[in-house]
């Protein structure tokens, strides 16, 4: 039999004014198990806590009920109080007689009666409480960053800076991501490569950072503190340790049909190539789809010219298995394909380009060496029309595009317009916009500069049709301010296409059991208070994988994610919430229902020898991983045999409360 102490708080007059606290303390005295009851002005005060501790010692209490404010307020306080007096902190129950009683009722008799029922319910629950021990699990002091763009690089640098090992897994042959493809960055107009490549070099030279490029994460198991990942490093057919990055092979390669992904397929590359001059690792890679040697067995030119002997046509995929304490998702984005929006004629006209393609056309390392030329005939465009919100801000669940604002397009369009006007002042630049959204430091000033100083023609309205006429593109759109339809004979049309999560994001999310929204962006644990953590413990979010962002925001978020990772890796052990599900092996029938409803993948099935009265056999039973379980209880209700129960909120405890409430 338990020895229960009941402590009724006055909360000054907050409770005592409407609840007769003495009557409550008196009424519960004869409840089974109660050996002590008291009331005091402020239980949460030092004196109040001392009263509780003294009573625990004096009466050898095995559990306490505090009748006070909401457990959301002071449950933790009283648990600590109990613990310091040598009581198990989970042998504490709170009867909420302030928020749910004294504050909402005016009649003292009625409120007192309710307070007594609430106290009795808490006592009934406490009689079924069992001491719970918070478990611990070890932390592997290594972090996995999926994605090697600016988000992944920044997170890796910050985590490495704190002294922890970091692996960056990048699907492309080089790190750098989308930022490496950009020409200039808004609103300062400094060149993207100039600020990114030093960071890439820093990452590659950091002893704690291990870059695994041209690879993908194939499998992840485990839980916070001890994930196990299988990484497939695709065959490059070039020995990374031998290749010096001289790029002689790339110039000699006779195959010229491979599309250059780095230049948004605007030009071709060899079958053996280095994505761009500052690539990291600066190692060539062979595209097996294009390589004549790999396809027909004849050629081998690159092998002949390579003085380092780095070419290895027989190289195979490599599987790497590693353990990690934390995983950061930095999978980034890609622009949508605007072809289905046929009014823009993207699929039919080479001179209708997306903004990222335009970025490459303006870049000194791009297909035109930085001279702005039309892809169709290589002429200088004299009139350029920019169209914003292409595929953004559309009605949900339609083929028109994405329901969200892609956030960066207004600013980069202003940047493009400005750069064109600066480089080629004789060019007419028109921008069709719905709204110009510039919430950021120095952003609106930047946009106004484009309009006022650079003479960019901003037209409030949307383009309804782009049609080829001779060598011109006829753009028909509305000008809502002038209330007229405008027709512009343009040489080039640039679409500010919406951005969407990288196509690999969905499968990675499934692999990590990290939740995602309907647009495949990763969801955060709390939209305001925990913006860089996934609801799944140990998974952190960095960059556009979580939602559209510009570079400064991405870097800030990457740093925030890193600080969360460091906070986790700094711990030797994780203390787990003991209020988790637990399966009774004797009752489990191995049906797998609980495994299916668990949102965290905390339940696995194992073949186990079960021993009980008259039972000794190997059965397939559910096992809950207490480090992963968050204690929602979905499995407890699903379990048909009643084997699954939730500690701290067990069936017995809740039913005891139900019974107690219904009795009076």
């Amino acid at each position: 039999m338990q020895k229960i102490g009941v402590f009724v708080c006055w909360c000054g007059s907050n409770i005592a004014a409407t609840v007769d606290v003495e009557a409550v303390a008196e009424a519960v005295k004869n409840e089974p198990g109660v050996v002590f009851s008291a009331n005091y002005q402020y239980m949460c005060s030092a004196a109040g806590q001392k009263l509780i501790q003294d009573a625990i010692h004096e009466h050898h209490l095995t559990g306490i009920v505090v009748c006070s404010c909401s457990p959301r307020m002071h449950e933790a306080t009283f648990r600590k109080t109990a613990e310091s007096a040598g009581l198990n902190p989970y042998m504490v129950e709170i009867a909420n007689i302030r928020e749910q009683c004294s504050w909402i009722h005016k009649d003292k008799e009625e409120a007192t009666a309710k307070a007594i029922v609430l106290a009795k319910a808490a006592i009934s629950k406490l009689r079924n409480d069992t001491p719970l021990q918070a478990g611990t699990s070890a932390v592997t002091k290594r972090c996995l960053v999926i994605g090697g763009g600016i988000a992944g690089i920044q997170t890796a640098l910050d985590v490495a800076d704190a002294g922890y090992e970091v692996d960056i897994v990048e699907q492309r042959p080089t790190i750098g991501g989308r930022m490496a493809q950009l020409d200039k960055t808004f609103p300062t107009l400094d060149c993207a490569a100039c600020i990114l490549t030093p960071k890439m070099v820093e990452a590659s030279q950091n002893e704690k950072i291990n870059i695994i490029s041209y690879a993908k994460v194939e499998k992840v198991s485990g839980f916070v503190g001890s994930f196990k990942a299988t990484i497939r490093k695709k065959a490059r057919f070039v020995d990374e340790t031998k290749c010096t990055g001289c790029s002689l092979c790339t110039t000699k390669c006779p195959s010229r049909k491979g599309k250059n992904e780095f230049n948004m397929n605007l030009d071709n590359r060899g079958a053996i190539y280095i994505p761009f001059a500052q690539a990291i690792p600066n190692v060539a890679v062979i595209d097996p789809e294009q390589c004549i040697k790999l396809k027909t067995g004849k050629c081998g030119l690159c092998e002949k010219v390579c003085s380092a002997g780095a070419i290895n046509y027989k190289q195979e995929d490599e599987l790497i298995e590693r353990e990690y304490g934390a995983i950061v998702v930095a999978t980034g984005f890609k622009p949508i394909d605007p072809s289905p929006l046929n009014e823009f004629g993207y699929a039919d006209n080479a001179d209708v380009v997306t903004s990222l393609e335009f970025e490459r056309l303006m870049n000194a390392a791009g297909p035109t060496k930085g001279t702005l030329l039309r892809p169709s005939d290589g002429k200088h465009p004299k009139t350029i029309v920019f169209i914003q919100c292409v595929g953004s801000r559309c009605e949900e669940n339609t083929k028109r595009g994405k329901p969200y604002c892609s956030k960066i397009c207004c600013m980069y369009t202003a940047k493009h317009a400005m750069l064109v006007r600066e480089k080629y002042p004789d060019t007419d630049v028109h921008v069709f916009y719905i709204d110009v959204r510039t919430p950021g430091k120095n952003f609106d000033e930047f946009y106004r500069r484009a309009a006022e100083q650079y003479g960019v023609d901003y037209i409030k309205g949307m383009v309804g049709k782009v049609a080829k006429e001779g060598d011109k593109l006829m753009v028909q759109g509305s000008d809502l301010i002038n209330n007229e339809q405008v027709h512009i004979a343009a040489d080039m049309v640039v679409l500010a296409t919406a951005i969407e999560p990288d196509p690999t994001a969905r499968s990675i999310g499934t692999m990590l059991t990290a939740s995602m929204d309907t647009n495949d962006f990763f969801t955060e644990a709390h939209p305001k208070l925990r913006p860089v953590e996934s609801p799944t413990a140990g998974i952190f979010l960095s960059g556009v994988a979580q939602g559209p962002k510009d570079i400064p925001e991405t870097v800030a978020q990457a740093g925030a994610a890193a600080s969360k990772v460091i906070g986790l890796l700094a711990k030797d052990h994780l203390v787990t919430n003991p209020c988790v599900a637990q399966s009774n092996e004797l009752m489990c029938n191995g049906c797998s229902q609980c495994e299916k409803v668990c949102p965290y993948g905390a339940i696995t099935y194992v073949e186990k020898e079960v021993r009980g009265p008259g039972v000794r056999e190997v059965r397939r039973v559910a096992q809950v991983n207490p480090a992963v379980c968050q204690g929602c209880g979905a499995c407890t209700v699903t379990c048909p045999s009643g084997a699954m129960d939730l500690k701290g909120f067990s069936n017995k405890q809740i039913l005891a409360e139900v019974d107690a409430i219904c009795r009076w």
């Binding site: 609801p535 979905a634 209700v637 069936n651 219904c662």
Partner: protein
């Protein structure tokens, strides 16, 4: 304020509230001093999906006249999907209660967020009114449990 009908009978109402949204909503109703009948007693559960339909039947058996389950709004569940499970399970339970001839109004599922103190109070007032109108639960009560 207590709901009393002509004969002096008062309803007994059990409210299951999830820890993250509705229980916090109830706390907010309290700090806003938004009253609702004292006949309603709240049981805190971690998530609406922790509520076994059997808990509700047990409450009726032991003499409750109405049971209400409150959880986070769809899409807002702290555990991402718990309230969807709760919704499905309760739909099943309610259709069974319908089949047994139990008045539909005795059970209810409501979504109350942590910011909706006013909604919590309004919901509880409305539910208590419904239960008072329906009168005592005789069909499901276990007579052996009566004092």
């Amino acid at each position: 304020m207590q709901m009393v009908n002509e004969t002096g009978w008062k309803p007994k109402i059990v409210a299951f509230c999830c820890n993250w949204c509705s229980y916090a909503g109830a706390d907010l109703a309290g700090s806003g001093r938004l009253s609702y009948p004292a006949d309603i007693k709240i049981i805190r559960v971690p998530c609406s999906c922790r509520v076994n339909p059997l808990f509700i039947l047990r409450a009726f058996e032991r003499g409750a006249d109405g049971v209400i389950l409150c959880g986070c709004h769809p899409g807002d569940c702290h555990y991402t999907s718990g309230n969807y499970y709760a919704r499905r399970r309760m739909t099943m339970l309610f259709s069974m209660l319908d089949y047994l001839g139990i008045e539909r109004g005795r059970t209810r599922v409501e979504w109350v967020s942590a910011a909706e103190g006013a909604k919590f109070s309004a919901t509880m007032n409305d539910f208590a009114k419904t239960i008072t109108e329906l009168g005592e639960n005789r069909k499901l009560g276990d007579l052996r449990c009566k004092k």
